[in-house]
Amino acid sequence: MSLDRPLTRNVRPDRSPTDLAAYEANGGYRGLHGAIGKLTPSDCLQILKNSNLRGRGGAGFPTGMKWSFVPMDNPSGGHKYLICNADEMEPGTFKDRLLMECDPHQLIEGMILSAYTIQADVAYIFIRAEYIKATQLLREAIAACHDKGYLGKNILGTDYSLEMHVHVSAGRYICGEETALISALEGKRANPRAKPPFPQVSGLWGRPTIVNNVETLCNVHHIIERGADWFQSLGLTADAGTKMYGVSGRVKNPGCWELPIGTPVREILEDYAGGMEDGYQLRGFLPGGGSTDFLTTEHLDLAMDYDTIGKAGSRMGTGTMIILDDKTCPVGFVKNLVEFFARESCGFCTPCRDGLPWCAQVLDDIEQGRGLQEDMDTLARQVEFIGAMGNTHCALAPGAMEPLASGMKYFREDFQRHIDGAGCPWCDGGIH
């Protein structure tokens, strides 16, 4: 059985971008031709629902269900919006960049079909400013689609019209949170918003809005073209499709690969990432970005899918693993992450604005050899308070607690050695 890798079929070894001609020569925009004016929006929605596609931005929410909350009767004729979340700033995450730089038209075709399904008439790609090459390629791709009649007024001669814009962000990790992203697009400070109302009903400018991750949207035209059963059959476990998995840290061959969803952690780590660098041993890993809980060597045979990783006490998150090796200090590792989240807090709610810097300070004390025994209790109390969903206005702060809580659980003796020895055992070894 040959591996079906729809998302990366146009990704070349040298990572040069696929242009419109090459994209179409390889079957691109067939989904668009087959759907617009031929399938109804509700046909498309049904296919998406049946496919069991789950959001690849981190939370794994079923995409078809999310879309089904968008009101389809639109008596006022006002705008509906589709937004692609291309903010990719989760520490240790490097998959959306690859998809956009190597195959920009795949994202655009996915977005056109997604917008058609929810009958959005305006679409935005919200992209971080550092993704300069991707921004340029996407702008060129949009222009090429206009010339072809794939975007703009009366797409393929039907009465469906769609305008698409690239919006370059001005920075800050919190812009990736979907309601904060909407605030940023409206020209405001990127503070998250209370839900309800959900963006599907009242989002950008108070109009129905769907926000999806780059990888999620890249899947859509394949699903509509090849069907829900095909998509379901790609997954190895209960989840459907393929997934962009990545590994970074001290492995022989760090990288990002499209594999069937549910591929075991060990296979990704050993067969694709080439195992640990010589002289380094695996101690633990964050399965999907900086705001997921540590797992350890006992979890290597788990399938990388949403439910399996969830049951093990973590989250698949973005699917890009970060490796903790034996020559890297776990306290320093956690401190780097908590300092990051403290810096990136939007400042709206107290537990996050004040609690995260407190945690970062305590971690710094421990790392620098000033740690006291009661600091462990302080951290545990903060984890309980900040980590509880509902105590904060958005998921940034609870996300920050995931590596901290699990780090204290799995590497407790390393924290203790810092406190007992009044210093970092690794720093003395000269590395961190």
């Binding site: 990719e88 700033m89 989760e90 520490p91 240790g92 995450t93 490097f94 959306d96 960049r97 971080r128 400013a129 550092e130 993704y131 300069i132 814009h165 370059v168 962000s169 001005a170 920075g171 800050r172 990790y173 940023a184 409206e186 020209g187 405001k188 400070r189 990127a190 400018w205 990545g246 590994v247 970074s248 840290g249 001290r250 760090p254 990288g255 990002c256 900086g290 890009t320 970060i322 490796i323 903790l324 090796d325 890297t328 320093g332 590792f333 780097n336 992450l337 990051f340 990136e344 939007c346 961190h432």
Partner: protein, 185 residues
């Protein structure tokens, strides 16, 4: 009673002075900047919704956004300067202080940290004679930390201007900035 008269005129004078100052603000921004900002305004439901784009436009022309520019943008967008300042200072890529010709964005997130970005930063600082947040005296570079650049498989990474540098070594930093007499010695 008669005391009130001068007070009123003082207030009026202040008002008309403010008006004059505000209309003078229009002259602060160039024709090209105003045209670009107006284009953004035409895409959004109300003027102040173009705030971030307007800041970015002015920054792209001048490298940064001064107090005077900020007041002029706020005036043009019919919003208060204080509100615009709240927006400008929220975003890390809007510069409210002058920056060098090229901004160095050094990733200090987790995968780059594992691969030694702290030592790399020391090396860059030593080579250029600046700490994080500072600009070299010759105005060529400003050194800033940045969130994960989405190139973690090539860690450690940094951007110099628009260019991404991957798998950066201390040797590479030496080569890149070696000719820079930033006063590191």
């Amino acid at each position: 009673m008669s005391d009130l008269i001068p007070i009123v005129s003082v207030a009026e004078a202040a008002l008309s002075e403010e008006k004059a100052a505000l209309s003078g603000l229009n002259a602060v921004l160039s024709e090209a900047e105003l045209t670009a900002i107006d284009r953004e305004i035409s895409h959004v439901p109300y003027r102040s919704a173009a705030a971030i784009d307007a800041l970015k436009i002015v920054q792209s022309h001048r490298g940064w956004v001064s107090d005077e520019n900020l007041r002029a943008i706020a005036h043009h967008l019919e919003m208060s300067a204080a509100e615009l300042e709240g927006i400008a200072t929220f975003y890390n890529l809007i510069f409210r202080r002058p920056v060098g010709n090229k901004v160095i964005l050094l990733c200090n997130s987790i995968s780059c940290w594992i691969k030694g970005c702290d030592n790399l930063q020391k090396k860059v600082s030593e080579q250029l004679g600046v700490d994080l947040g500072q600009t070299t005296p010759d105005n060529r570079y400003t050194l800033l930390p940045v969130t994960c650049l989405g190139a973690c498989d090539k860690a450690p990474v940094m951007m110099v201007g628009d260019d991404l540098h991957e798998d950066v070594t201390e040797q590479a930093v030496q080569t890149l900035f070696g000719d820079h007499g930033g006063g590191g010695e």
